[in-house]
């Protein structure tokens, strides 16, 4: 990557740290942690599914905050950050919607049901798919970025709805991760440690991917500036 000074240092630290974190997470999920007494081995999907879901919320939260800042300040920095976080959030949300049904098939007996949490998560995916399509169709112009920013802010309203959906509506999606002794849930301290570590590993992955994607957008802007400079000479 074409990086210099502090940017190179961030990349040199964050990339190996993320790699090590993900490798350690795999070790914990497949070797360290015991299987759930009720759900069996398939419960191990949760250790990636839940952190992916939380990082999806974080990513789209960053989109909303960066979009507000872009509309307020009008600087390319905030627009680039919003666009980068939206792309990474979209990837994570897609993985949530893939890993969830794979877990649900053996546990619920169905791949998909129009449950409140599943439906609101699908709506979140569709909102930010529209956001990314809008970015692609509108090109690098200021007006398209402003329309997308509004969608990025409005879309984030779905995040607290997803979070509260298991309490507001009758749903079969698990609401809590730790249940009474002997039941299904993260009762074993090793399970809680594994989930906690996976949160850290996925946060590092999120930060690294947004960083790389943001550098990508910065280079694209540099190319655009150079083109304009050449045309004006």
């Amino acid at each position: 990557m074409m990086l210099s000074g502090n940017r190179r240092r961030v990349d040199v630290v964050l990339a190996p740290l993320t790699g090590l974190g993900m490798l350690a997470a795999i070790y914990m999920v497949f070797i360290y942690v015991p299987s759930d007494k009720v759900q069996g081995i398939v419960q191990r999907i949760f250790y990636f599914h839940v952190p992916l879901a939380i990082m999806t919320f974080l990513a789209f939260g960053v989109v909303a905050v960066a979009s507000v800042m872009f509309l307020w300040r009008g600087t390319r920095f905030w627009d680039r950050l919003a666009h980068s976080a939206a792309e990474v959030g979209m990837l994570f949300c897609t993985l949530v919607l893939i890993t969830g049904p794979i877990w649900a098939r053996p546990v619920w007996g169905t791949w998909w049901t129009w449950d409140a949490r599943l439906t609101t998560t699908l709506i979140l995916w569709l909102i930010y798919a529209a956001y990314l399509m809008m970015r692609t169709v509108s090109g690098p112009g200021e007006q398209g970025a402003r329309y997308a920013a509004i969608l990025g802010i409005v879309g984030a309203v779905d995040i607290p709805i997803i979070n509260r959906s298991v309490y507001w509506w009758r749903t079969i999606h698990p609401a809590v991760l730790v249940t009474r002794e002997g039941g299904s849930g993260l009762n074993d301290p090793r399970m809680q440690a594994t989930l906690g570590f996976c949160f850290v590993a996925f946060f590092l992955l999120f930060a690294w991917l947004v960083w790389v994607r943001n550098e990508n957008a910065r280079l694209r802007d540099a190319v655009e500036d150079m083109r304009q400079h050449i045309l004006q000479r």
């Binding site: 398939v42 893939i98 991917l209």
Partner: protein, 46 residues
């Protein structure tokens, strides 16, 4: 080891999609770096 195939499918999906995305980002970066270098040379020639 019941439902091992579901566990494998879930983790395979995560790793394949993450790998593809990282490769796409790396390719985009390389293409942009090439473009910047070409534009820089063009500016020097002018």
């Amino acid at each position: 080891m019941e439902n091992l195939s579901f566990l494998f499918a879930a983790y395979a999906a995560v790793w394949v999609l993450l790998f593809v995305y990282v490769v796409v980002l790396a390719r985009r970066n390389r293409a942009l770096e090439r473009e910047i270098e070409e534009l820089r040379q063009l500016l020097q020639r002018r």
